[in-house]
Subunit: 292 residues, 2 copies
């Protein structure tokens, strides 16, 4: 079986203007500009998650990024409905990177002009990126999803889900990925704003049991199983729609976290937290690239 | 991050007495001795699945294997309850290979003296190998499961789930696997006894949608979603216990298959059927090993 797409890694780096084919996954709620700056300055693509930010906060964080790095960076939004035309936004002429959880979604994204596709394997932490179907049985693990998306589209494809260290990066590239997107491994970096209860959970044995759950926000997302997920989830038909579920559990979560208790928190994590390191994000980025 | 376990591939081959670190997954119902012989003669480890065989049939198939190959082969059983002592069986002094779907199961197997562990990622086709818990949220994709099992045990670890071609084999080895176990890719080989409806499904777009279901046998297994799974599954609390569900649906399945219809059949497949090739199993085995 020939390698169908040689030299795709450098093509991705050229396209994005980065040195290393490593995208730091945007992780709303646990990071701001500092993590993005550190990863971009280390040669990867740092990301600013905007799902929880109002426009003024986004402007402030982007100013903070551009003040501390001249390298490219990624600004991430949740897109649940088709956006309306916006001349100001279109004037950016950005490169669009979007997640696909199935081959059909990858084909849809390519047909709609996306520049780079992130193949989000079922191992990935945080919110699932599915948008063509809510049937979670359609979603596959990285080992299965990535090769099938690579065969289905011509744009660069970035692997996400379960990739935690240099060996994982090397494996994804061996499968033919143009690059990788890594989130969970960055959660213990000092630049991340991961909460104390979240950090404690990631360092414990409990990080080995995650589930895709809708009880924390109303939309399926992977997190470490805690009391809330175990008692009313992982999937519930009666949960308020996204993002209202998060507000519903907010007071309980705040009270518990004040007591150092993550029973009701969103302890987002992929299925492989074994790559988490309490080291600066630049060091982690370089470690991830060691086998490239 | 250092490569923790160098040279483990050759250690596995030495332990099993095989040339290539490729195990043909035992697949009850779709293969007999012919596929095992072809793979063993090609340098991999062929497998004879015995889950559906009475003792006389097992003896017959083993005779057929030993008549056609002098290479090692794997004889596979489902073990749902602790086996009783059996002097005849113990006289074999076999090497025991067993599947783990979680880190806890891998540790349990090692503690109980298993020689080789198959890390069965959630992408894998056919029956799930879980035995310590029925909670399927504990099961992880290959990218996440394999590295964590490699860190947890010292015996050789074989990767399974979503590995479909030479790139997949190379990726699993890059993650640190000592070898790979591959099933789905062999299903179209002439030596497999895969049914006509099963072959047709594997070659169609419908192979991209699989689910872990208990409605076909009573025990969770991954297969291509068909009418039966879609209408009463994928998981059902009212299904007869394993293996009685298979008998319950038997007459309906036989009638439908007689009309070339797989709506009620067990169309076992992993999440990545893209590696299926209608080529002799020896050729496929050599292709899988091309990047080793």
């Amino acid at each position: 079986l020939p390698d169908l797409k040689p030299h795709r890694r450098s093509a991705l780096c050229d396209r994005l203007g980065i040195e290393l084919p490593i995208i730091q996954a945007p992780m709303a709620g646990v990071q701001g500009s500092a993590l993005a700056v550190a990863v971009s300055n280390a040669g990867g693509l740092g990301s600013l998650p905007c799902a929880l930010l109002m426009p003024d906060a986004i402007r402030g964080d982007i100013s903070a990024i551009t003040a501390h790095t001249s390298q490219p960076y990624n600004v991430n939004f949740f897109c649940h409905t088709a956006p309306v035309a916006d001349a100001g936004r279109e004037a950016w002429r950005p490169i669009i990177i979007s997640s696909a959880t199935t081959v059909d979604e990858a084909r849809w994204l390519e047909a709609h002009g996306v520049d780079v596709i992130v193949a989000q394997g079922l191992e990935a932490g945080g919110h699932r990126g599915h948008f063509l179907s809510d049937d979670l049985t359609l979603q596959a693990g990285t080992f299965a999803l990535l090769p099938q998306i690579l065969r289905a589209v011509r744009v660069p494809v970035v692997a996400a889900g379960g990739i935690a260290d240099a060996a994982g990066v090397a494996a994804a590239m061996a499968l033919g990925a143009d690059g990788v997107q890594i989130g969970t491994s960055y959660l213990l970096c000092p630049e991340a704003t991961t909460s104390a209860v979240h950090r404690a959970a990631l360092k414990s044995e409990s990080a080995r049991h995650t589930a895709v759950t809708n009880v924390l926000t109303g939309r399926p997302a992977r997190g470490i199983v805690n009391r809330l997920i175990a008692s009313v989830g992982p999937m519930s038909a009666t949960v308020p729609p996204f993002p209202l579920a998060a507000a519903a559990v907010g007071p309980l979560r705040a009270k518990a976290e004040g007591q150092g208790n993550g029973d009701y928190s969103s302890l987002w994590s992929g299925q492989n937290a074994s790559g988490c390191r309490e080291v600066p994000a630049a060091d982690l980025t370089r470690q991830l690239a060691e086998r490239l």
